[in-house]
C-alpha cells in the first residue's frame, strides 16, 4: 500500500484542506466550514457549528412561558415574529384558548411582512455573495420600509417581541394599515427592478443555473423545508398543509419549482415575495374589530403533557416542542429549527463543484447561524 502511494504524483493524490470561516463574510455568521479541495474542486465539506451556542433550549427550562418569547427572537433573527408566534400558538393550544380573529389576522400580516423582509435581506446578501454590491444597497433600502412599520407598531425593528401568549403586546398603530398599503404599492413597482438587476443577468445565470442540484428524493430524505425544499419540488408549506392563524381563510398558492438548482431556489424566493404581498392585500383591508389580546392569568401554567406546534418561517418549518410538568416553567423545550436541518444537505449538494460555487450554494440555502446553534 505504501509503495503504491509513493508511485503516484502527490499533487494528484493529496486533498487540500482549508478552513472557511468562522469569520468569513459569505457565511453570514460564525460558521466554520472545513473544506477538502482537490485543485479547485470541492471534495468534502465538514461544517463545524456551535460558535454562538447560547443554550437557549436549556435557558427556557428556568424561565416562564411569556419570557421564552424574547429568546426565540434571537434564534432566527430574520423571522423573529414567526418564531414568537410558534411559541404563542403552542401555549394557546395547550391551554385551549380561542383566539379572536383580530389577533389571528394581525399575526398573519406581521408574519408575511417578516417573510418579505427576510427574503429582501437574503436577496441583498445573495447578490453581494455573487459580486453584485448594488443588490445589497437596494435590498436593504426596501427592507427599511418594513422595519419602519415594525418599529411604529411593535417598538422593535428586528427583534420585535410583539407576540405574547393570548395575543399581541399592543394594538396596531393607527398608521399601520396606511403604511402597509403604501409599502405594497411601492414594492410592486420595485420587485421587477430586482429581476432586471439580478434575475436576468447573464453572469448570474452562469453562476447559478445547474449549480448545487438537490433532487426531490434527497430533499425529502434530508428533511429540507422552506424555499430550499420547495425549489426541489417538495411540497412542504406548513401554511398550506396545516394552516394556523388566518391562513385557512385566504387563498394563496404554494410556490413550487422542480429543477432544484441554485437558480431555482432563487426564483422560489422571489415568487414567495409576490405571494406574500397577495396574502397581505387580502387581509389588510378587513382586519376584524375586537380585542388585541385575551386576558390571561398572571402566571401561566400549562397542564401536564407534551405539545407540538409547527409554523412556516422564512427558511422552513420551525417546530416547537414543549413538555410540561404542570409548573410555570417548561420541563423541556426543543426547537426543530429549519436552518440546522438545511445545513445538513450542504455537503451533499456541493460535492464536485468549484469552490466559488460553494459561496453561491451557501447563499442559496439562506443559512442564519444563530438558528443553527441556538
Amino acid at each position: 500500500m505504501e509503495e503504491k502511494e509513493k508511485n503516484i504524483n502527490p499533487d494528484e493524490q493529496q486533498e487540500y484542506v482549508i478552513n472557511m470561516g468562522p469569520q468569513h463574510p459569505s457565511t453570514h455568521g460564525v460558521l466554520r466550514l472545513v473544506v477538502s479541495l482537490k485543485g479547485e474542486i470541492v471534495k468534502n465539506i465538514e461544517p463545524h457549528i456551535g460558535y454562538i451556542h447560547r443554550g437557549i433550549e436549556k435557558m427556557c427550562e428556568s424561565i416562564t412561558y411569556p419570557q421564552i418569547i424574547h429568546l426565540t427572537d434571537r434564534m432566527d433573527y430574520l423571522s423573529a415574529h414567526i418564531n414568537n408566534e410558534a411559541v404563542c400558538l403552542n401555549v394557546e393550544k395547550a391551554l385551549e384558548i380561542d383566539i379572536p380573529d383580530r389577533i389571528k389576522v394581525i399575526r398573519t400580516i406581521m408574519s408575511e411582512l417578516t417573510r418579505i423582509q427576510s427574503h429582501q435581506l437574503w436577496w441583498a446578501s445573495f447578490g453581494m455573495d455573487l459580486g453584485g454590491l448594488t443588490c445589497f444597497f437596494y435590498g436593504l433600502r426596501d427592507r427599511e420600509k418594513i422595519l419602519d412599520i415594525f418599529e411604529e407598531t411593535c417598538g422593535g425593528r428586528m427583534l420585535v417581541s410583539y407576540n405574547c401568549p393570548g395575543g399581541v403586546m399592543y394594538d396596531i398603530h393607527p398608521n399601520f394599515q396606511k403604511r402597509v398599503k403604501d409599502f405594497i404599492k411601492y414594492f410592486r413597482k420595485i420587485l421587477p427592478e430586482y429581476d432586471q438587476l439580478l434575475s436576468g443577468n447573464v453572469i448570474f445565470h452562469e453562476r447559478s443555473k445547474g449549480i448545487g442540484k438537490l433532487s426531490l428524493e434527497d430533499a425529502i430524505s434530508y428533511g429540507i423545508t422552506g424555499p430550499t425544499g420547495r425549489g426541489s419540488g417538495f411540497s412542504c408549506d406548513v401554511r398550506k398543509h396545516e394552516p394556523y392563524s388566518a391562513y385557512d381563510r385566504i387563498t394563496f398558492k404554494e410556490i413550487l419549482h422542480t429543477e432544484g438548482d441554485t437558480y431555482c431556489r432563487y426564483i422560489t424566493r422571489i415568487d414567495e415575495m409576490w405571494e406574500s404581498m397577495n396574502i397581505i392585500e387580502q387581509l389588510i383591508d378587513n382586519i376584524p374589530e375586537g380585542p388585541f389580546a385575551v386576558k390571561m392569568k398572571p402566571i401561566i401554567k400549562l397542564p401536564e403533557g407534551e405539545y407540538y406546534q409547527r409554523v412556516e418561517t422564512a427558511r422552513g418549518e420551525l417546530g416547537v416542542y414543549i413538555i410540561s410538568d404542570g409548573n410555570k416553567n417548561p420541563y423541556r423545550v426543543k426547537f426543530r429549527s429549519p436552518n440546522f436541518v438545511n445545513l445538513s444537505v450542504f455537503n451533499h449538494i456541493t460535492k464536485g463543484f468549484k469552490i466559488a460555487d460553494l459561496v453561491a450554494i451557501g447563499g442559496s440555502l439562506d443559512l442564519v447561524i444563530p438558528d443553527i446553534d441556538r
Binding site: 424574547h70 429568546l71 418599529e151 417598538g155 427583534l159 427592478e193 432586471q196 438587476l197 453572469i203
Partner: protein
C-alpha cells in the same frame, strides 16, 4: 454555422441583460429624490423616533418629583435576565403607619433585551420606554442606572 449564430446570440443576450441592469442603477442618477439615505448624525436635532420605540426603560416623574412605583417587585419577577433590581425601605407615613417604599430601582441597561415585559406588567404604569437610542458610554458602570430620582416620592393616590 448554427453554433456560431447561437454563440453570437448568447453574447448579444448577455450584453443586453447587463445593459438592462445598468439602466436600473443609472436611472437613479436622474431621480435623486428617490434616494433615501438619512444624514445621521447631522440630522440628530430633528430626528424623531416613533412613540413606541423601545429605547430604554425610564420611570416618568411629575413636576413635584413624584413617581408611581410602589416597589411591588412584579417587574423584577417578570424580567427574564435580572436586569431590574428593587431595593425597598420602610417609611413611616403621615398617619403614623409603617409602609414599604422603594429606595432604589436599579436598571442595568447593558443586560436589557427590550422584551417590554416590565413595562407591560407594571400594575401602576410606573415604567415607560424612552426614545433615546444612543446608549454608548465609555465606562461600563454608567450602564447601571437608578430610575427613581433622588428625593422622589410615591405619587398620591397610587397604591
Amino acid at each position: 454555422m448554427r453554433s456560431i449564430i447561437n454563440y453570437l446570440k448568447e453574447i448579444i443576450f448577455g450584453v443586453w441583460s447587463l445593459l438592462k441592469g445598468m439602466k436600473v442603477t443609472g436611472s437613479y442618477f436622474f431621480r435623486p429624490s428617490t434616494i433615501v439615505t438619512q444624514k445621521y448624525p447631522g440630522n440628530r436635532k430633528d430626528l424623531v423616533m416613533f412613540d413606541r420605540f423601545k429605547g430604554e426603560v425610564v420611570m416618568p416623574h411629575n413636576e413635584k418629583n413624584e413617581h408611581k412605583c410602589t416597589g411591588c417587585g412584579i417587574c423584577e419577577i417578570n424580567c427574564p435576565n435580572g436586569t431590574i433590581e428593587i431595593i425597598t425601605k420602610s417609611i413611616i407615613t403621615e398617619d403614623g403607619k409603617k409602609k414599604r417604599a422603594i429606595d432604589k430601582h436599579i436598571y442595568r441597561l447593558g443586560m436589557c433585551t427590550f422584551c417590554a415585559l416590565c413595562v407591560k406588567t407594571c400594575p401602576s404604569n410606573a415604567l415607560a420606554f424612552s426614545q433615546k437610542f444612543e446608549h454608548a458610554v465609555f465606562n461600563r458602570a454608567l450602564l447601571i442606572k437608578t430610575l427613581n430620582k433622588p428625593g422622589s416620592q410615591l405619587m398620591k393616590g397610587v397604591e
